[in-house]
Symmetry: C2
Subunit: 502 residues, 2 copies
């Protein structure tokens, strides 16, 4: 049957983030003949590539009668060029949406159903509303262990899966919520300097002021494709790149985008997200850093144990080895919170500077030790000492520079143009620090989008401060960002709790 | 403090349906100074009105450096004019989102929390992602009875609430899912001809091929404001208008828009939606038509009883009277499915035409009888006979025309330009009809957006048919719509089940 549903592409340059939107004149012949109405889902085809997009209609002269436009994300998915001719049609109903409705009503999903949902998400067939429905239906503990295993498997299957020579490919993940916890940038050079293989892919922030990929990006490029990743790992034994740029577990980045808007992290989603990324990257032995504290992401030992158990169950089902390290999450790690500020802490540790943050150094060495002990060549209990040697003798710093160079060249982290220092009103001892409030403040100042924005914390727990002594400094890249963050800063004593003394 | 975050409005005419979107150049001075990035939520102010909108950024020359644009919905909310100067700022975080996260994790919401969520939704402060999260968290039976009561109260409080003279204001609602169930258009003229007051507001379709407002709109205007609604009801005792145009329970229309994209109707949401609308309209006595069938919205007597109980609980808490009438929902009511086709059935009944669909007539009379019996002047058991008199003597038809005239003038329902008739392949008895499949087919043909689109069912249950006898006729307003619906029609015997006979 003849299909006359063709229109010429015109690039309007509208960036909707990662939602595929198609812009069509309300009165174009395709809308009229197909009965397309605003908000409809539309199937768009171009040179063998197809997408589903949500229709926004245009009243007026933004487009000519034979023209159509796409959001930048849709434009990229279709690899479109100006004036290309696209073909429009009604999409087949997505069967996987009925599986989500079934989940909403409390029914279990089987492996086929989960795969079908994840495949549709990975291929950009869901609108934001559909994704939010799926995430909410699964959050709050509504997935069984078997479902989390299947979700993880499905997320792996939906993307590339790397393999590396050898059967000991190490990796590490920190469950977020603890600002400034950038141990990865120290661990990778230590364990690769020893000779282990650590092809590290990291995520950008979901709800935190910086993700590891955001911090690394202030020091070297992190948008690296798989071919280049292979080259870097073959050459240096490791890398620190953004996972989203290598199509490992592609559903994950899409889910994270909507989770960020929802400001929601569920335990099931954490485990599936972390392990799908790691296993896709070809990892066989993974250390999980799990900080616990009243204002960290994991607030109680009980939740940490639930998460630990779930990690072990999924790891066993997927035949990999996991070591979960629970630790104190009472205060930020290092001084900086925000991409550039955290990178500066990392450099201080790698360069063995005298003023390097001791807590960041210690935590990185502990985790590096756990990873080194995955090696049959390292005795149990000797990992940390070995890691310390590799850091102090400069091997790790040399390796880090080599990795940055291999990723495209090392650079200096940027410095914010606008700062404001918050000072103590009286003498006292720092008795408590609210990590959530600190993170929120760093985000209000512009982190992680503005790389140099964030917070520099001057007074860790138990510091004795005098009146007028600096507690922390806000950094922002714009006057507006600084003003906004300050305007939201009502009660400093709720963030840094001072215990007065005589 | 000086705020220099001002830009000139340019109308691009982009219709996003009902999501507020703001379009700004990535490199405009406001994005740069405030650190606004794509997908950010932005506070937009104009002449004392404010909205929250999602940022889409523009690369290129669609806007000049000092220009900004809004989606048509945002444009309307702000009552904007070309070249108006709007002021942009970071929004305060919405506290109510944390209540939704708490609900996702299974915690109960108190009345204050629910009110805060509904107020934010009513005022357009949520993105589609937030609304989908809220709806999903509440669906699947995750609200307690107390929460449904509070949800209903909150939805009422968020909008206008009408009051009418007297303490007997009647109303009626059908829980959808049964195609063609347009009894409202017959009931209102009957009971108002008797002298009762029935200020009827109806909804447009959520997931069905037509809502009562969609069907009524083919006969008379339904977008009527409150002042005009009062005038019509004072004059005629009743009206049949679209609820969304009078700002009764404004959250409801917003929730319905997202539910439609999710293709999800939850029981809690049904009760809150129906009763908030009815009570806002000032009703005191309400008949609920609850058809039950394997392919109707309510599939089992058990679900019907749950719904009945929930209706009664919320009604008692809100001090109104409810009569739930459960009925057979095995097949469509009347012949037409889709706005215009249903309207033609209604006219046949009101005009006492010989070929009027008996089932539609009977059901309307039964429900009108129940409503008439709310009156102290009507004896129990005599309502239906009274309703029949008012229909057959022409009082109802006369009243219907008067109501249409008062609403802006009566009109003829439109007729579709493209039709295709599906015929029986062999002799047999119609042993089953799949309402869901019929509804889906009517929607694929373009209903309810295309008013004349839908299905005309020729053979109700138990009809004896010959080979080649017409089973149903598809109606579409466009070739594409007809072609599309036919292309999806794989297995006719799954829709109309024929039991063969010798």
């Amino acid at each position: 049957m003849k299909n006359n549903n063709k229109l010429h592409l015109k690039r309007l340059g509208i960036d909707t983030y990662k939602e595929a939107v198609v812009y069509m004149r309300k009165d174009c012949h395709v809308c009229l003949s197909e009965g397309f109405e605003v908000h409809a889902r539309i199937h768009v085809a171009l040179r063998g590539k197809t997408i589903l997009a949500t229709l926004n209609t245009i009243a007026g002269e933004l487009l000519k009668p034979n023209e159509i436009s796409l959001s930048e994300y849709a434009w990229q998915l279709l690899e479109a060029k100006e004036n290309d001719i696209v073909e429009l049609s009604h999409p087949h109903p997505l069967q996987s949406l009925s599986f989500i409705r079934s989940k909403v009503y409390g029914n279990a999903l089987d492996s086929h159903q989960i795969q079908s949902i994840i495949d549709d998400i990975s291929q950009g067939r869901y609108s934001d509303i559909h994704i939010a429905t799926f995430l909410t239906a699964c959050a709050g503990g509504h997935l069984s262990n078997a479902e989390v295993v299947n979700l993880t498997k499905s997320m792996i299957k939906a993307g590339e899966r790397l393999s590396w020579p050898g059967d000991l490919i190490v990796d590490k993940h920190s469950v977020g919520g603890l600002p400034g916890n950038r141990t990865t940038l120290i661990i990778v050079p230590i364990v690769t300097a020893f000779g282990l293989i650590m092809p590290k892919t990291s995520s950008r922030s979901i709800t935190s002021p910086s993700g590891t990929a955001d911090t690394m990006e202030t020091l070297a490029p992190v948008n690296i494709d798989i071919a280049n990743m292979r080259r870097i790992v073959e050459q240096e034994g490791g890398c620190i790149i953004w996972g989203g740029s290598v199509n490992l577990s592609p559903a994950d980045e899409i889910l994270i985008r909507v989770e960020r808007a929802m400001d929601l992290d569920s335990e099931n989603q954490i485990v599936a997200s972390v392990l799908s990324k790691k296993i896709s990257a070809g990892s066989t032995h993974i250390a999980i850093d799990l900080p616990i504290g009243p204002t960290a992401k994991v607030r109680s030992l009980e939740t940490a144990r639930t998460l630990d158990t779930l990690f072990q169950i999924v790891a066993n089902a997927l035949k990999i080895k996991i070591a979960v390290d629970m630790s104190d999450g009472l205060q930020p790690i290092g001084r900086g919170i925000g991409p550039s500020l955290e990178a500066k802490d990392v450099l201080a540790v790698l360069q063995n500077q005298k003023n390097a943050p001791v807590d960041l150094r210690e935590r990185a060495l502990k985790l590096a030790g756990i990873i080194l002990e995955f090696s049959p060549d390292v005795k149990q209990g000797e990992g940390k000492a070995l890691a310390t040697d590799l850091l102090t003798d400069g091997s790790a710093w040399k390796k880090f520079q080599a990795i940055c160079l291999a990723q495209g060249g090392m650079r200096e982290p940027t410095t914010a143009s606008y700062t404001h220092t918050i000072r103590a009103k009286q003498r006292g001892r720092v008795a408590g620090i609210d990590n959530r409030q600190l993170s929120r403040l760093a985000k209000l100042a512009g982190a992680p989008h503005n790389k140099a924005a964030g917070i520099e914390l001057h007074t860790p727990l138990d510091t004795m401060v005098e009146a007028e002594q600096p507690l922390f400094t806000l950094h922002a890249e714009s006057k507006g960002g600084l003003r906004y963050a300050l305007s939201m800063l009502e009660d400093i004593s709720a963030i840094i709790q001072l215990e007065l003394y005589e």
